[in-house]
């Protein structure tokens, strides 16, 4: 009896403790719920890749089957669309990464007339709704009578990827330690050798991250492609077309494969970046 009286005076009241506990753990509980909300659709996509739908629509759970995973590449239209998307994404990534990296170098390393205009021209595409970009490109292609197809898709994809490449490479360049380049030049390397042997290798993780982003943007693009594809079918366009008549379950399998590959690629660039940072840090300390 006495003991409990003492504890009651020492410990704060139950509501106060509950309040303190909420304040301490509340943000984390909220964060956990918000993250669950972000991940639920991915879980659903994964789960429904094992579904055995009764009709052509894969909306309600019927039963477990592995047959769709066994048949992932068994639908030829889906294969063709995937192949087109991959080709398109690789080409768009290579071109936009090269062009964007050069722009980023110019913006960070050089002072020049027209810089503000260049900055503006890079920001605006990121702030333009995709539907407007797709519509305006289509307007131009219509007026010139250019046939829509793989080429117009490539033009469009490079266009909307460039800005994002610039932003990623630029942020890497701003935090760049220039003393290594100065050391190379002190040791007699000309600007080109310095760039190829010092700057580019150190910049590579940033460029890889930018390329990954460009690839992800390209392979996932629906809206701009929908306007400028003509009869060419990419992976998202295939899904959209199939949506009316029932999307094959194999699409879920492909989505999960793409998800896993991106996850691994992203992990690899993060590791590479850490290694490059460690490499840049290992040099003789100044006395």
């Amino acid at each position: 009896m006495e003991a409990s009286a003492i504890t009651r005076t020492v410990l704060p009241s139950a509501p106060a403790r509950a309040w303190r506990w909420t304040r301490e753990h509340g943000p984390n509980i909220f964060a956990a719920l918000a993250i669950a909300y972000l991940l639920i659709p991915i879980v659903v996509i994964f789960a429904f890749s094992f579904n055995n739908p009764a009709g052509k629509y894969n909306y309600t759970w019927v039963g477990f089957t592995l047959s769709h995973w066994g048949n992932v590449f068994g639908i030829s239209e889906l294969n063709d669309a995937l192949l087109t998307s991959l080709k398109l994404a690789v080409l768009a990534t290579v071109i936009s990464t090269a062009l964007g990296t050069l722009i980023a170098i110019a913006l960070v390393r050089h002072q020049f007339f027209g810089r503000r205009t260049a900055n503006f021209l890079i920001v605006v595409p990121m702030a333009t709704p995709e539907v407007v970009m797709g519509a305006s490109l289509l307007s131009m292609f219509l007026i010139y009578g250019l046939a829509l197809g793989f080429l117009t898709l490539l033009i469009a994809h490079v266009m909307f990827c460039i800005s994002f490449v610039v932003v990623v490479v630029r942020s890497r360049l701003i935090g760049f330690d220039r003393s290594l380049e100065e050391a190379a030049q002190d040791l007699g390397a000309n600007p080109l050798t310095t760039f190829m042997k010092v700057t580019l290798p150190l910049l590579l993780p940033g460029i890889a991250a930018a390329a990954l982003l460009a690839f992800a943007l390209s392979i996932d693009d629906f809206v701009v492609s929908n306007f400028n594809s003509g009869t060419t079918v990419t992976f998202p366009l295939f899904i959209f077309g199939a949506a009316q008549r029932g999307i094959p379950v194999e699409v879920n399998c492909v989505a999960i494969i793409l998800f896993s590959v991106t996850l691994v690629a992203m992990g690899a660039t993060v590791l590479q970046q850490r290694r490059a940072e460690a490499l840049a840090a290992t040099r003789p300390q100044e006395a």
């Binding site: 943000p27 909220f30 964060a31 918000a34 993250i35 972000l38 991940l39 659709p41 991915i42 659903v44 996509i45 429904f48 909306y59 309600t60 062009l99 050069l102 722009i103 110019a106 913006l107 050089h110 020049f112 260049a118 900055n119 021209l121 920001v123 605006v124 990121m126 702030a127 333009t128 709704p129 995709e130 539907v131 407007v132 970009m133 519509a135 305006s136 490109l137 307007s139 131009m140 219509l142 007026i143 490079v158 266009m159 800005s163 994002f164 610039v166 932003v167 630029r170 996932d220 929908n226 998202p236 899904i239 959209f240 949506a243 999307i247 699409v251 989505a255 999960i256 793409l258 998800f259």
Partner: protein, 289 residues
């Protein structure tokens, strides 16, 4: 290197990329503007005619979906801020060793195809699904009522799809706050709540503004969510533009609508650049995409 050549270097570096953006971003905007002033139909052919009435006709005909787009995108942006700010706060200040894993979870949805993500919500919110039957038993949704094909479903879908664009910039600005600023406030006897309202929140405001823009802009032009999760009564301006361009082939009206949409958004962006500078919009904030 001679001085003159050195001065030309940045233009050689910029040249190819900027040229691509001029030819395939800026010039098409001009052509879209021109097309919006054409007269004619697909059968008779289109002729440039300074037909300003196209704007008036298209806007009065499609006023409802136009306003609806701003309403849906606005609502989704507010909800994304209400979910995204506390989430970014928890990652920045309470994440500890889970920080990177939490950030990865925030961007993870981007690794699955946008269309499939949205279709997954169609599955989750379907009429006989778990969510609807639970909400029906609690009485939030009327018996026999549905979520799919309502404004709520479209707004929820938009919120979901653009939430990471809100979280990442807010996180970046919270992460940059010097903890000693918050400690100083507490040393000066500010309660945690006062310290938040007077120090943390104002310092994170650039991230909030960037996140709001990065969420609102793609949301207002979106038509995927309205297409999969809504009914004909939930069509947004993106659905109208897409239909006019690709199905009805009424190019002048479609171009006029796109042009107005672009103009409204440009005003918002220019206002923001005035407020924070174009470099700020391009900084860590924009890596989100």
């Amino acid at each position: 290197m001679s001085n003159r050549r050195r001065r030309l270097v940045p233009y050689f570096l910029l040249g190819p990329g900027i040229l691509w953006l001029i030819l395939f971003f800026a010039v098409p905007m001009y052509f879209m503007g021109r097309l919006s002033l054409d007269t004619g139909t697909l059968e008779t052919g289109f002729r440039f005619n300074w037909q300003w009435s196209n704007f008036h006709d298209a806007l009065s005909l499609y006023q409802t979906p136009f306003l609806r787009s701003f309403y849906y995108a606005g609502a989704a942006t507010v909800i994304a801020l209400l979910i995204g700010y506390p989430l970014a706060y928890a990652i920045a200040f309470k994440g500890g060793r889970w920080k990177n894993a939490m950030l990865l979870a925030v961007v993870a949805p981007f690794f699955t195809t946008y269309l499939i993500r949205t279709i997954a919500w169609e599955t989750i919110l379907s009429d006989h699904g778990f969510v609807v039957s639970t909400l029906q038993s609690v009485g939030i949704v009327a018996a026999g009522g549905r979520i799919l094909q309502t404004a709520s479903a479209v707004i929820a879908g938009i919120t979901y799809n653009f939430l990471p664009f809100m979280v990442l910039p807010v996180y970046a600005s919270l992460e940059r706050i010097d903890p000693s600023m918050i400690e100083a406030a507490k040393d000066l006897y500010a309660s945690p709540r006062t310290a938040f309202w007077k120090v943390t929140l104002p310092l994170s405001l650039p991230g909030v503004v960037a996140g709001t823009l990065l969420t609102f802009i793609p949301a207002v032009g979106d038509y995927i969510n309205a297409f999969f999760l809504g009914s004909n009564n939930n069509h947004m301006i993106g659905n109208v533009i897409q239909g006019l361009y690709l199905t009805q082939r009424d190019y002048p009206a479609a171009a006029a609508l796109s042009f107005v949409l672009m103009a409204v958004i440009m005003l918002a962006v220019l206002g923001y650049i005035r407020f924070a500078g174009s470099e700020a919009l391009m900084g860590e904030e924009a890596v989100a995409g």
